[in-house]
């Protein structure tokens, strides 16, 4: 068997395939659909001809004309494809059964053309409301098919990005509408669709609708199957097409259906194209047939489609909408609803769009029961659609003929495209229900009423509806009828006008006589009782002349966008706004607007800002912008404060607010663009046009006296918005700032408020209506800067010397330290500390004028100093000119030209600068003195610059106080020839008013705190520098002196003797016991002496050791020495030598033995205590020690007469006490220790473990005193007493010094 070629996509399929594997369309005509739909009055074309239109559609699609052109091009509409013979299609059995039943119920009077639509007749018979659709003219079917194909293509494009398992969500549609069920079919699986009874799934949404009755195919296809009741002229351009597959049954009037509950039944399904059916549609009709067959059959005459006559229209939804189209009899399936749609009024306006949409949301009942079918292959036998007047010549589509004239695909396509947009004449596919257009698809232009229907999307009607082809085809029965203009109700809800102005608002029509409302979906025109639905457009237009309308839901009508120029957007769903149509905001400040104007930089001008005169020339009326708001005349406005009249040098008066310079005409209305343009510099030089370079006036130049009002600060010190170029109303935040500064500039506030960046405390001009004269504070005079001159900008006028403001600006009275009760001289004694040499001070510090006691700090006067920069040597960098020149001016010490005048403000508090900075003095007054170098004239710095003055310079303000040189004093230094140099004389009185943005103290406490801070600040730098090094040196010297004195004293005492110092008279019991123990020893008694002290303590313990040894020597005791310390044996040998020296008769060899070093610490002592002979077998000399006379008869320690432990270490003494004493058996244990260990061993003495204790030098002295032989111990004790006294004196001295220091700190802190 040959392969089955799909009639939709043309892909070959297996012979036994029923569904196309590519497009999932039915490969064969449904049972009973052997006849193609023809246009009314025309015989159905051959199968070959029916396929031609489909082929044309394919061609068009292949060329991508359908998707890009926004609709069907005016090409030849494809012909309705030839239906596949039934014999070639293998249909399932149930379909055959369905067809049999349908055939059995086929009305006898069916025309041959209607035989193709027999299935529809069956459906109508089952429901009782179907009428055989008339034959659909070929051209109309082709149009429908083309539209359906276009939608399908559109859908395919949308689904390209989707996976196999993905699918587009069903488009929103009116429940129960044709598109709704189609959408649901799309959501269902293919198998489900084939299952009988699937249609029950549509019952649920329908149940929600209310009065919407069954999903009757009659209602859905009523326009197709209805017999022609009214003749609707079909436009001649519209070729007759097969009647659309629509139920011809008269849709019942659906009254009061909530729009939300009405499913969208009119939205065309995009996947449905003429001649091509989607998978759901392919099997849908088959299953739908079962449901239809189950119902009572309705014998209806086939709809005789006549050319140019559309089937009867369904009952209009809006009862108030007069309809000239007579409604079809209720017993017959009619297309009255389509007629009603035709008769709907004009599209509603945007205001009433919502009601109309709501009303349109409820589709007619006929549409709810619309059963989708495959698009008809043959556009024959189209039911006549009764479209009144819109598309003359478009025959109605007899529903009864649909089944005979169209294949399933054709009918589906027709039904789905019934609300498709207008397509050109060339494409004459059967109309299909309209669906919301895809974003990429060109928006169709349905009628207004149609557009107003919710969910209606005219994208599915791309190029189809409203086209001439439709009119020629006479597809009147597919789309809802459009009401004539005359039938427009008096107060219908306006349909949303189209958005794109380029696109006409003409609704597309499938049939020339049909004009679908642009703002309403077709369902809304089907006769919903909602009175808000507007009738369709009155005057139908040829489809070809009707542009595609956009979906009103996505594209508000043009009427709603009146006054707004909209730009065409490629995306139909985007509403664009032409910025050019926007009016400038009235809130745009003038100072922004004026940037739109072109500035003319006068090369002769020093300032980069245009002068006020130039700005005043700019007409303010041209801009059309309201002039700047008037400033309060009483207080100086900030706008005038910083207006720089650069043309007039040294003019710091605040200019009048200039009107806003109008922007360019083309951008006048674009506020945002104005701002961007105005703020964007045209050239790099423009970046600096707002920057004023400081100018340094020549020293010999006498700055012209400028009236206070004319003087103005340079532009670069102006506040934003205050500039000469900034005229007009300022923003609120700037105005507030002006107000604050105005307050500060008031005389009252000047005394208390610390000047901020923009306000000088002394620059207030209360009388003048101008703002605070910042120009008075500016002491920097611009000099000719080579760099700026290269730019064509003269800098001599950038800065103006401060004017004499002595009269106009009374000096600001500042509280002095004395007024605050602070006497700095108290804290800064002029005397140097005794013994201290004044540290050399740096030159810069010494150059500072000394602060006189009680003298009120006066403004620092600049002193001529070495000029670092000359006039012509000023750097070219505009940004650094200010600072550099200021320094140069100050270094030169050139007094300002108006030095004699009390300039109101000096930048950085120039009045408090040291002389080398402030060039206040005249010629030769520099402290360092460089007579050969001319002094620089100082200029006044603006207030904001003055506020930035470092805090450390405040001290200089207090330390230097020289009267300002009178005006006219020539500036010395290298900047003699410059004008407007930095004046050394600060305009503002230099006191504790350190420039700070914070307001000055207002209360007494605040003033005191401020004074204290000022004192700290002024005092700190002067004293902090030499303190660290001096302090160290003084401390070292102090201690050297003390130590030296101590040593000298002790040497003297040692030489003289300290016999006058009393020896200890009181002896401790331990000392007495010790003495008594030794004293009571028998002669030749063996005594063990443990010499456990280190050489370091030999000086302390040797006296007692010698004393004891002498006593033992007198006793002729046999003394044995042992030590657990390495140096013990050596010290023992030394002690024996000393004793031998003292008492030569004492035989050391016979009476002494040295057991040497015993290693092991406490363990060794334990061993020694157990068996001393085994532990110490040899002596220190290496000879057996236990054979000596000193150890004769000694086998253990208990055989000794006494054991003496001499140690400075408490642990060693404790070890002897713990390890040896228990083994002694009553042998006295005597311990001689140092003074630090004595207390630690006192408890052992109290417990009786230690019989005698001698501690320290005092003990030795006491022991000697007891012996009656003062020796070394007594001497040491006396010396020790002297050292103790000296230590006590040193300690007391430290206490005194600390107290004195604290006392010194206290007065300064409390003051």
């Amino acid at each position: 068997m040959p392969e089955t070629i799909c009639q939709i996509c043309g892909t070959p399929n297996p012979p036994d395939a029923v569904i196309c594997s590519t497009c999932h369309s039915r490969l064969g005509p449904p049972p009973g659909r052997t006849q193609s739909l023809d246009t009314p009055g025309e015989q159905p074309s051959t199968e070959k001809e029916n396929l031609e239109w489909l082929e044309r559609v394919r061609e068009l699609n292949a060329q991508d004309q359908l998707s890009k052109s926004g609709g069907f091009s005016a090409s030849v509409p494809p012909s309705i494809p030839t239906p596949i013979p039934e014999a070639e299609v293998e249909n399932p059995d149930w379909l055959h059964n369905t067809r049999d039943l349908a055939a059995a119920q086929k009305p006898p009077n069916q025309t041959p053309a209607g035989e193709d639509l027999s299935w529809l007749n069956d459906l109508r018979a089952s429901t009782g409301s179907l009428t055989p659709p008339p034959a659909i003219p070929t051209n109309a079917a082709e149009v429908l098919a083309a539209a359906a194909f276009a939608k399908h293509q559109e859908e395919m494009e949308d689904t390209e990005h989707l996976g196999e398992t993905q699918q587009l969500a069903p488009r929103s549609s009116i429940p129960g509408s044709a598109s709704d069920w189609l959408d649901k079919l799309g959501a269902l699986g293919e198998n489900e669709q084939l299952k009988p009874g699937f249609e029950d799934s549509f019952g649920s949404p329908l149940a929600e609708i209310g009065t919407v009755v069954n999903y009757d195919i009659d209602r859905a296809t009523g326009s197709l199957g209805k017999p022609e009741e009214t003749v609707v002229p079909v436009p001649a351009s519209l070729e007759p097409v097969p009647p659309p597959i629509e139920p011809a049954a008269t849709p019942p009037v659906v009254e009061n259906i909530p729009p939300a509950q009405v499913p969208e039944a009119t939205a065309p399904r995009p996947e449905q194209v003429p001649g091509q059916s989607a998978a759901p549609a392919a099997g849908l009709d088959l299953a739908f047939l079962d449901s239809m067959l189950a119902e009572t059959p309705v014998a209806e005459a086939p709809f005789e489609h006549e050319a140019g006559v559309l089937p009867s229209q369904p009952t209009p939804i809006n009862e108030n909408v007069p309809s000239e189209v007579p409604s079809a009899p209720p017993s017959e399936p009619s297309l009255s609803w389509l007629q009603e749609l035709q008769n709907l009024p004009e599209p509603q306006s945007a205001q009433t769009l919502e009601p109309s949409i709501e009303a349109a949301a409820s589709p007619p009942s006929e549409i709810l029961e619309f059963i989708p079918t495959t698009p008809p292959v043959v556009a024959e036998g189209m039911p006549k659609m009764d479209f009144s007047g819109e598309q003359p010549g478009v025959p109605p589509l007899p529903a009864a003929e649909l089944s005979s004239q169209f294949t399933s695909e054709e009918l589906d396509a027709r039904l789905l495209n019934q609300f498709a947009p207008s397509i050109p004449e060339e494409i004459k596919a059967p109309p299909t229900p309209s669906v919301p257009p895809a974003p990429s698809a060109p928006p169709p232009q349905p009628s207004q009423e149609l557009k107003s229907m919710p969910g209606f999307s005219s994208t599915g009607l791309t190029g189809f509806l409203g086209s001439d082809a439709l009119a020629e085809m006479g597809m009147e029965g597919i789309l809802p009828p459009e009401r004539t203009p005359a039938s427009t109700p008096a107060s219908p809800p306006p349909a949303p006008p189209p958005i794109a102005p380029a696109r006409e608002a003409a609704p597309p029509t499938i049939i020339p006589s049909l004009e679908i409302p642009a703002a309403q979906p077709p369902m809304a025109q089907a006769g919903f009782p909602d009175g808000s639905i507007q009738p369709p457009a009155a005057a139908p237009k040829p489809p070809a002349a009707q542009p595609i309308m956009e979906d009103p839901l996505f594209h508000p009508p043009a009427s709603s966008l009146e006054g707004i120029q909209l730009s065409e957007e490629p995306y139909a769903g985007v509403q664009s706004v032409d910025l050019g149509s926007l009016q400038p905001s009235e809130e745009t400040p003038d100072w922004l607007k004026q940037y739109a104007s072109e500035f003319k930089v006068d090369e002769n001008q020093a300032s980069l800002f245009p002068s006020q005169e130039e700005l005043s020339k700019v007409p303010a009326s041209d801009s059309g912008i309201p002039p700047a708001s008037p400033q309060p005349p009483a207080a100086p406005s900030q706008t005038e404060k910083y207006t720089a009249d650069v043309s007039a040098p040294l003019d710091f008066t605040v200019p009048e607010p200039q009107p806003v310079v109008p922007a360019a005409a083309e951008i006048q209305n674009q506020d945002w663009l104005n701002t961007v343009i105005n703020e964007t510099p045209a050239s790099p030089a423009d970046l600096f046009k707002d920057v004023e370079e400081p100018r340094f006036a020549a020293p010999e130049e006498e700055l012209p006296a400028q009236p206070a009002q004319d003087s103005k600060p340079p532009a670069w010190v102006m506040e934003p918005g205050q500039h000469s170029g900034f005229t007009g109303p300022l923003p609120d935040w700037l105005q507030e700032l002006e107000g604050d500064q105005e307050v500060r500039s008031s005389p009252e506030g000047q005394e208390e408020i610390i000047p901020d960046l923009f306000v000088s405390p002394s620059s207030a001009t209360p009388a003048a209506p101008e703002p605070e004269p910042i120009e008075e504070r500016i002491g920097i005079e611009a000099a000719v800067v080579p760099g700026l001159s290269d730019l064509g900008i003269q800098t001599e006028n950038l800065f103006q010397s401060p004017e004499p403001q002595g009269e106009a600006l009374p000096p600001r009275k500042e509280p002095s330290l004395e007024d605050l009760g602070i006497h700095p001289e108290e804290f800064f004694p002029s005397k140097e500390p005794p013994g201290e040499t004044p540290l050399p001070q740096p030159d810069w510090l010494s150059s500072l004028p000394a602060m006189q006691d009680g003298a009120e700090p006066a403004p620092v006067q600049p002193e001529p100093g070495p000029s670092q920069f000359k006039k012509d040597e000023t750097p070219s960098a505009a940004a650094s000119v200010l600072g550099v020149k200021a320094i140069s001016q100050a270094s030169n010490g050139a007094p300002p030209q108006n030095a004699g005048k009390s300039s109101p403000a000096v930048p950085f508090g120039m009045e408090s600068l040291p002389d080398w900075i402030s060039a206040e003095h005249g010629d030769g007054e520099s402290s360092d003195g460089s007579p050969d170098q001319p002094a620089l004239a100082q200029a006044e710095m603006p207030g904001w610059l003055e506020a930035l003055k470092p805090v450390g310079m405040a001290k200089a303000a207090l330390s230097t106080s020289q009267p300002a040189t009178p005006s006219g004093t020539p500036v010395t230094g290298s900047l003699k020839t410059t004008t407007g140099s930095l004046g050394g004389k600060p305009s503002a009185p230099a006191t504790s008013q350190v420039a700070s943005p914070a307001p000055g103290p207002k209360t007494e406490n605040q003033k005191q705190y401020a004074a204290m801070m000022e004192q700290v600040l002024t005092r700190g730098p002067a004293q902090a520098a030499p303190a660290p090094g001096k302090k160290k040196r003084s401390r070292k010297v102090l201690w050297i002196v003390i130590a030296g004195l101590a040593v000298i004293l002790l040497l003297i005492l040692a030489a003289v003797g300290l016999g006058f110092l009393p020896l200890p008279q009181l002896f401790s019991t331990e000392t007495v016991t010790f003495y008594n123990t030794i004293e009571t020893l028998p002669p030749d008694a063996p005594v063990l002496i443990a010499l456990e002290y280190s050489p370091a303590f030999s000086a302390e313990l040797q006296p007692v050791s010698e004393a004891v040894m002498e006593q033992l020597a007198l006793k002729h005791a046999r003394v044995s020495f042992i030590s657990t310390q390495p140096a013990g044996p050596i010290l023992a040998e030394q002690l024996l030598q000393e004793i031998h020296n003292v008492n030569p008769s004492y035989d050391l060899a016979a009476n002494t033995a040295n057991l040497g070093y015993l290693a092991g610490g406490s363990t060794a002592l334990q061993g020694f205590s157990l068996n001393p002979a085994s532990v110490t077998q040899t002596g220190w000399d290496g000879q057996p020690a236990w054979n000596k006379n000193a150890l004769a008869g000694i086998n253990n320690l208990s055989q000794f007469a006494a054991i003496l432990v001499i140690s400075e270490n408490a642990d060693i003494s404790r070890d002897w006490i713990e390890q040896v004493q228990p083994k002694l058996g009553g042998v006295p244990l005597l311990i001689a220790t140092s003074a630090q260990t004595g207390p630690l061993l006192q408890p052992y003495t109290a417990s009786g473990q230690v019989d005698g204790l001698v501690a320290g030098i005092s003990g030795a002295a006491a022991y000697e005193n007891i012996l009656g032989k003062p020796a070394q111990g007594s001497a040491l004790w006396q010396l020790y007493l002297a050292a103790q006294i000296l230590a006590v004196l040193v300690i007391l001295l430290g206490l005194v010094l600390r107290i004195s220091r604290d006392r010194k700190k206290l007065p300064s802190g409390e003051g």
């Binding site: 201690w1039 130590a1043 110092l1061 009393p1062 200890p1064 008279q1065 009181l1066 280190s1094 050489p1095 370091a1096 303590f1097 030999s1098 000086a1099 390495p1126 140096a1127 044996p1129 050596i1130 010290l1131 040998e1133 030394q1134 030598q1137 040295n1154 040497g1156 015993l1158 290693a1159 092991g1160 610490g1161 363990t1163 060794a1164 334990q1166 061993g1167 157990l1170 068996n1171 085994s1174 532990v1175 220190w1180 000399d1181 290496g1182 408490a1210 404790r1214 207390p1239 630690l1240 006192q1242 408890p1243 005092s1258 007493l1281 050292a1283 103790q1284 006294i1285 230590a1287 006590v1288 040193v1290 300690i1291 007391l1292 001295l1293 430290g1294 206490l1295 010094l1297 600390r1298 220091r1301």
Partner: protein, 205 residues
């Protein structure tokens, strides 16, 4: 398993020695004495090892350039000289004794004297810089006891009441020292018990 063995040996030895201290068993005494001999021997060897380690360390410092190189050279030189003298002349030789006594004693005595001055200066600075109640108490006590042990209070020794007061004041440091000694004794006891019970194992790695 080194750690348990060492702990067992240490514990056994400590228990034996402690038991032999309380139990006058002959065998126990013999073992105890033997352990003590071995301990003394090991202590001597440990001292020698310490000297060798110190020498080697100073040798390395002397060989490595640095600021403390000279000190290491002096240490090593002194060690070698003393070693040579002791080996040559013997430890009991008077000349060797003179080397030790004439060098070591003056040095250590001087250092000890400087400590006292440093302590006094520290107290002086402590008094000057810090100001608190503890500082004040310390200063007062230092001054008082210096005066009490000095001749300033000598005149009061003949006065009966004052002498008792002075003697009582002189005994105040003894009370503090007694408390310190008790603490030391208790600490030593606890340390010994910890070693005997194996809680502290300073010998194990």
């Amino acid at each position: 398993m080194r750690s348990p063995v060492a702990a067992a040996i240490a514990i056994a030895a400590g228990v034996i020695v402690l038991a032999g201290y309380f139990l006058p068993l002959p065998l126990l005494q013999v073992v105890r004495l033997q352990f003590l001999d071995w301990a003394m021997l090991l202590a001597a060897v440990a001292a020698l090892v310490g000297i060798i380690n110190l020498t080697v360390g100073h040798f390395r410092k002397a060989a490595k350039p640095g600021p403390s190189r000279m000190f290491s050279i002096v240490v090593v030189t002194s060690l070698l000289i003393t070693l040579v003298f002791g080996v040559v002349y013997g430890a009991s030789d008077s000349r060797f004794a003179h080397v030790v006594t004439n060098i070591q004693i003056p040095i250590e005595t001087t250092l000890l004297g400087m400590i006292s001055i440093s302590l006094a200066y520290t107290v002086f600075l402590f008094v000057r810089r810090r100001k608190s109640w503890s500082n004040s108490v310390f200063i007062i006590s230092v001054v008082f006891f210096l005066l009490a042990n000095s001749w300033f209070l000598v005149f009061g020794q003949s006065i009966p009441v004052l002498s008792e007061i002075i003697s009582g004041i002189q005994k105040i440091p003894l009370a503090g020292s007694r408390g310190i000694m008790i603490g030391i004794a208790l600490g030593s006891l606890v340390t010994g018990l910890r070693i005997l019970t194996g809680i502290d194992r300073p010998y194990s790695g």
